[in-house]
Point group: C2
Chain length 116, copies 2
Amino acid sequence: MKYASELLKGTTKNLILAVLSGGELYGYQIVKAIREQSGEELEFGEGSVYPALHALERDEYLSSHWVPQDGSPDRKYYTLTPKGKLVLKAALLEWKSFSGAVGKVFENVALLVRAG
Amino acid sequence: MKYASELLKGTTKNLILAVLSGGELYGYQIVKAIREQSGEELEFGEGSVYPALHALERDEYLSSHWVPQDGSPDRKYYTLTPKGKLVLKAALLEWKSFSGAVGKVFENVALLVRAG
DNA sequence: GTATATGCCTCTCATTGTGAGGTATAAGGA
DNA sequence: TCCTTATACCTCACAATGAGAGGCATATAC
C-alpha cells in the first residue's frame, strides 16, 4: 500500500459508490476502476472490498444480480439504488468539507516547516 | 460530530503533530487548537486525543513534561521530537497525495451527478 | 445546589483495512 | 508436465482507533 491504511477507513465505501455512479460494475472491476481513476494511487485488497460491498447492499445503497459466464467465474454486478445516490451526494459534500478542514490545519504547518 | 468518525481515522495523530508544530501545547489545548484551526469543523473527544498522545509519545514522536498549576489541574505539555518533525513532514506529503487521489475519483462523479 | 469549565485519565464497543486462506477455471511459459 | 498468473467470488483472525461514558479533582457562576 502506498498509504497508511487508516487513511482509507471511512473512504472505501464512498469510493465504491463513486465508481458505480457511471453504471453497474462487478466487484473485481470495482477494484480496478478505483485504481485507474485514482491514477494508480489507491489500491484495495479484495478482503476490504467484498465485505464493504456486502455492507452497502445490506444498507440498501446497492443492489446486485449475478451474471453467469462461460469458462470464467460468474460475476456479481452492483448498481446504485436511489438511496445510494443520495448517500453518494452527501458523501461528496462531506469529503469536500472534511478535506478542506484538514487542509486548513495543515496549511499552518507548511509555513512553519518552511520557516524553520 | 459533523463527520463520519471513520474519516478521522488515520488523520487524528497527524493533526496533533500539526498543531504542535507551532510550539508545545497541553492536551486540553490541543483539542481546542484543532477545533479553531479547522474553522470549528473538526472536533475530537478526549477519549480519542489522550490515547493518541500516549501512542505518539510511546513512538517517540512527542516528549512531555508536567507543569503544576495553582488552583487548577496540572498540565502535561507535549513537544515535537526531531523524529516527530520528520513524521509530520511525511504525513503532510502523504495527505496531499492521498486527498488528491480521492479527489480524482470523486471528480468523475460530480460530472455524472450533475448530468443526470 | 447545580451546572459549566478546566485538566488529566481509563475502559468497552463497533468499525474496518489487511493479509492470508479457500474454491474454481483458463491461459501462458519453462 | 508443472507452475504461475489472471479471472472472480468468498471468509476469517488480527490490529488500529474514534466514540462515548465514566472517574477524579478544583473553581467559578447562576
